[in-house]
Amino acid sequence: MHWSLLPDVHLFGVFSHGESRIILATWIAIGIVVGTFWLVLRKMSDSPSGVQSFVEYVHEELSELGGGLMGPSTATYIPFVASIFFFVFVSNYMGLVPGLVAPTSNLNTPLALALIVFLSFLVLAIAHQGVVGFIKHLAGPIPALAPVMIPIEIISLVARPFSLTLRLFINMTAGHMLVTVLFSLLPISAVIWMGFEAAITCWIQAFVFALLTMIYFGESVTHPEKQHS
């Protein structure tokens, strides 16, 4: 199922056969994101066009959403969220290019991103609210219900990295698989429509990942009194 033009990379004897293509694709995605930003930042103009306007548009939209979610500390975390968005965006679209493989179609890349987001959320929550404050936040507004609320909240917390990982991984893998299967069964028009659907799904999933990251950070950063259970 995984035909690609990427060569097997045998560096330092570390990478096993199956994973080296994905790691090479990850490097390509990183290279594209960093290279694009470097080129854009080299000559920034006041009336942007092309790639710079796209980058600025994404940044504006994420900042606007983040302003509502994360409050005044938005500007600190937007670079992180935007990096995640651009990386996932480029990775997803690489799956649609005929010779390349999407790094996010392997379980490891979304898992790594989700773990980074989850650990950042925990560190931020404990840094902003303290361990006791965090547990009180988990307990909810009614102290008497705490023994019931805390296990439920912990379960839903632990479900977050799983849901982030699986959402991204399954959308990328299943979409690709679907187009492959349909290609052998249906006329080309159906395949073209599925290609459009896959193209839309790519940026939707990138946006969803970034949006959920902002929601989790907002939950950990905003003042506890402002939160409603």
């Binding site: 849901s163 699986l166 959402r167 399954i170 959308n171 969803v208 949006l211 959920l212 929601i215």
Partner: protein, 83 residues
Amino acid sequence: MDNHWIMALSALGAALGIGLGAIGSGVGIGIATGKAVEGLARQPEAEGKIRGMLILGIIFMETVVLYALFISIVLVFANPFTK
């Protein structure tokens, strides 16, 4: 003989799993979108907020059916029970 049973029941389980899961997700997202459009028709100025909440709701509803799809795919492609 043993392996045949495992493969057959896994296929049945996978199909049932994703089939029933899709019912829940389809109904839920349909109802949510219907209410969102209704709310928009009542008050077109609230489009931004309605769209935001609709997208958030759809994300969570979609995730649950993705869990079911994941189990079905594991049963078909990476079955831990076949030898």
